[in-house]
C-alpha cells in the first residue's frame, strides 16, 4: 500500500454500546477524516428486554402495568396507547372524565420529559450548570405527578377503560401553582437556552435534517416538527380529551421566523411545547366534566370482557418523543394474540445518519441526543443463537412475517 492510499483511508471511531455520550446502549461506528464524519452507521438492539413476549402471556390488565415499564420517562405514553388499542378492540366507551385525566397526566409527562431532555442536551454540550438547574425546575412537575398518581416514574394510573385515580378538587390548587410556576419560567428557559452564545455556536446549523429528509425517513414528534413537518397526533388524529382542546403543532418558525431543521430548532420546539402543555392542562382543568373515571371498576368483569373480545386495533399517542404506536389483536382469550409496540424513537433513529454525516466528532453527543432517543423503548429484537449475535436480512424478515401471518390466519 502506498503512502497516499494510507492517508486516504478513513479511520474508524466506535462510540458505544456504552459511552458517556449515550444515555442508553446503542453501537455507533464512524468513518472519520480528521475530526469530520464521513460515514455513520449504528446498530440498535443492545437493550432488548422481551417485554412483548412477556405481555403475550398476560392479560391486558397486567400488560397495562408492564407498558409503564417500557420507558423510564414516558411511562404514561405507552400505557395510554396500549389501553386505547385494547379499548378499541373491545369497543369500550371511556368516560369523558377519564379522558381528561389521561390528557392531564400525559401533558405533565411531556413537561417533565422535555425539561429533562433540555438538561441532558446541555450536559452533552459540556454545560453542566444548565443540566443541574433545569433538572431542579423539573422537580415540580414530578411532584405534581406524584400527587396525582402516587408515583414519580411508573405512574400506574391508566386502566383499560379508564383511569385508576380521580383528580380531587383540593388538588387543583397545587396543579395551578405548578402551571403558574412553569408559565413564569418560560421566558427564563427560553433566554438561558436560546440566547446563550455558546449554545448558539454549538447548535445553530448543526445536525441539520431537511424537510424532505424528515418526510422521507418518516420522522415523528419534535424531530419532525423542528424540520418544519406540520404533524402532531394530538391534532391530526385527536383522542382522549384532545379533540375538545385548542391545539396546533409547534413549529420553530413560530418563534424564530424560519425553520432550519438543526439542533437549535429542536431545542426551540421542545421548550415551546412545555408552554403548550401548560396551556393544555389549564384548558383540561377548565373543561373537565364530572362523572365516572372508569368504564368498569371490577377487575374480574374486565377480565371476562377480554374473553369476549375479537379483533385488532391500533392505539396511537403523541408521546414527548413523537408518535407511539401499539397494535393489539385479541382472539377471545384473556391474553392478546399479538401485541406490537412501535416507540417514537424507532421512527426517528434513521434520521441520525443524514444529521451526523459531515459533522464533527464534537457534534456527535448533541446530535445523537437531539432526537431524544429512547432505546429501551425501541429495541424489539436481539438475535442470539448459539452464543452468536446475527443480523436478519430483509428477505429473512419478510419470510418470517409471512409465516407468522399465515399462522395467525389459521
Amino acid at each position: 500500500m502506498s503512502d497516499d492510499t494510507k492517508k486516504a483511508v478513513p479511520y474508524t471511531v466506535p462510540i458505544g454500546p456504552t459511552h458517556p455520550a449515550l444515555k442508553e446502549p446503542v453501537m455507533f461506528t464512524f468513518q472519520m477524516e480528521g475530526e469530520r464524519i464521513l460515514k455513520a452507521d449504528f446498530a440498535p438492539g443492545q437493550a432488548h428486554r422481551a417485554i412483548e413476549w412477556m405481555g403475550m402471556r398476560r392479560n391486558p390488565v397486567q400488560i397495562v402495568h408492564l407498558t409503564d415499564r417500557i420507558c423510564g420517562i414516558c411511562g404514561v405514553s405507552h400505557t395510554l396507547s396500549f389501553a386505547r388499542a385494547v379499548e378499541q378492540v373491545m369497543e369500550i366507551e371511556v368516560p369523558e372524565r377519564a379522558d381528561y385525566i389521561r390528557a392531564i397526566i400525559a401533558e405533565f409527562e411531556r413537561i417533565q420529559s422535555h425539561i429533562l431532555w433540555a438538561g441532558v442536551a446541555a450536559h452533552e454540550l459540556g454545560y453542566d450548570t444548565l443540566l443541574h438547574l433545569s433538572w431542579r425546575v423539573r422537580e415540580f412537575a414530578m411532584d405534581v405527578l406524584e400527587l396525582l398518581t402516587g408515583n414519580r416514574v411508573n405512574y400506574g394510573i391508566i386502566q383499560v377503560g379508564g383511569v385508576r385515580r380521580d383528580i380531587t378538587p383540593d388538588q387543583h390548587e397545587t396543579i395551578h401553582n405548578c402551571l403558574d410556576y412553569y408559565s413564569d419560567l418560560k421566558a427564563k428557559l427560553l433566554q438561558v437556552f436560546l440566547e446563550d452564545k455558546t449554545i448558539q455556536m454549538r447548535c445553530r446549523d448543526c445536525g441539520v435534517l431537511t424537510h424532505e429528509e424528515a418526510l422521507k425517513l418518516c420522522t415523528v414528534g419534535p424531530t419532525a416538527r423542528a424540520s418544519g413537518v406540520k404533524m402532531d397526533v394530538r391534532v391530526d388524529y385527536p383522542y382522549a380529551a384532545y379533540g375538545d382542546l385548542e391545539i396546533s403543532p409547534v413549529l420553530p418558525d413560530a418563534y424564530l421566523g424560519e425553520t432550519r431543521g438543526d439542533v437549535y430548532d429542536r431545542i426551540v420546539v421542545r421548550l415551546l411545547e412545555v408552554d403548550q402543555s401548560v396551556d393544555l392542562i389549564r384548558q383540561c382543568l377548565d373543561l373537565i366534566p364530572a362523572g365516572d373515571i372508569t368504564w368498569e371498576a371490577k377487575i374480574p368483569k374486565i377480565l371476562s370482557a377480554f374473553k369476549k373480545a375479537h379483533g385488532e386495533a391500533i392505539g396511537r399517542h403523541e408521546a414527548p418523543r413523537g408518535e407511539v404506536f401499539h397494535y393489539v389483536r385479541m382472539d377471545g382469550k384473556e391474553h392478546p394474540t399479538t401485541w406490537k409496540v412501535k416507540a417514537s424513537s424507532y421512527s426517528n433513529l434513521m434520521s441520525w445518519i443524514p444529521m451526523l454525516e459531515g459533522e464533527q466528532i464534537a457534534d456527535i453527543p448533541i446530535v445523537v441526543a437531539s432526537i431524544d432517543p429512547c432505546l429501551s423503548c425501541t429495541d424489539r429484537v436481539a438475535i442470539v443463537r448459539d452464543g452468536r449475535r446475527g443480523i436478519m436480512t430483509k428477505e429473512e424478515l419478510t419470510r418470517l412475517s409471512v409465516e407468522k401471518t399465515r399462522r395467525l390466519m389459521r
Binding site: 459511552h19 459540556g126 454545560y127 453542566d128 450548570t129 438547574l133 455556536m201 464534537a362
Partner: protein
Amino acid sequence: MSPATTLLPAVAGTIAISAFGILAGLLFLGIDRKFAAHMQARIGPPIRQPFIDTMKLLRKESVVPDNAIPWLFNFAPILALASSITILLYLPIGSLMPVLGAYGDLVLIMYLLTVPALAMVAGGFASGSPYATVGAQREMVTMMAYEFPLAIAIIAIAWRLSMAGIAYPFSLATIATNPFWGVMGPLGIIGGIILLLILAWVTPAELSRVPFDSQEAETELAGGLLVEYSGRNLALFYLAQGVRTIAMAAIAVAVFLPWNISTFVAMSPALALAVDFLFFLAKVLLVVFVSVSLIRVSMARFKITQIVSVYWIWFGGLGILGLLLIVLDATFGVW
C-alpha cells in the same frame, strides 16, 4: 561560593515548593469543585475530596493497554508532574522570591508551560486508543491556539517595563517588585486590563477546563487523552493538574497582581512572610475562582475549530489592541 551553599537552598526550596504545590493544588481543586457546585445549585463534594481521590488512585492498579507503548505511557505522567512543579520554582510566592529565579525568566516559563501539555499529548498518543489519539491531536491544536494571545500578554508587559528603564524586564523578581501598573498612564492601564482578561481566558485552556476542554471532553471522547490512564498514573496526572492550576494562577498573580501587604504595612520579617503568603493564597483563590470556576460553569464546550477561531481571531485581536494601547502609552508618556 562553594557548590554546597548554592545547591543546598535550591534542593531544600525545591522540596518545599513541591510539597506546597501538590498540597495547595489539591486544595484548590477541591475549592474549585465546591465553588462550581454551589453555583450549579448543588452541595458538591467536601473540599478534601481531591485528597481522598488521589489516595484512592494511588492504591489502585495502573493498567497499561496491550497496544500502548509502555515506557512512554508510564513516563508521561511523571514528566507532567515534574514539569508542572518546575514552573513553580521560577515563580515568586508571596514575598518569597523564586527559588531558581536567578536561572530563568518569563520566557523560560512560557516554554515550561507547554511541557505538561506535551507530556499529556505523548501519553495520549502512547495509549493506542482512538479517543486518546483524537484527544492528543486536539490538545496540540489547542496549544497552538492559546500560545499566541498568551505570548502577546506576557511580552507586552515585559516590553513596557523595559521601556520604563527597568533592568531585566523578563525576570520574575523584577516584575514582582515593580508592578507594571505603576509605570503606566491611563491608556496603558486599559491595555493592561485587556491583557489581564486575556490571561484569565487562556488559563482554562491551559488547564483543560470547560469551555476549552475538548481534548478531554467527557461526553465526546470519554476523557480523551486520559481515557486509558488509571491508578498511579492517573493520580500523577491529577496531581499535575493541581500544580498547574497553582502555577497558572501564580503567573497571573506575579505579572498582574504582584502587590504584597508587607510593602504597605511595616511588620517583622517573619510575620511579613506569613502575611504575604496568606495574601498570595487569597490572590490565587481569586484567579482560580474567576478563570476556572466561574468560566466553566457559565459556558458550553467549544468545538476544536471554534477554540482556534476564538483564540486567534478574538483574543489575538484583543491582545494586539492591548499591546497597541501599551505602545501608545510608552510613546507618548504619562498624560
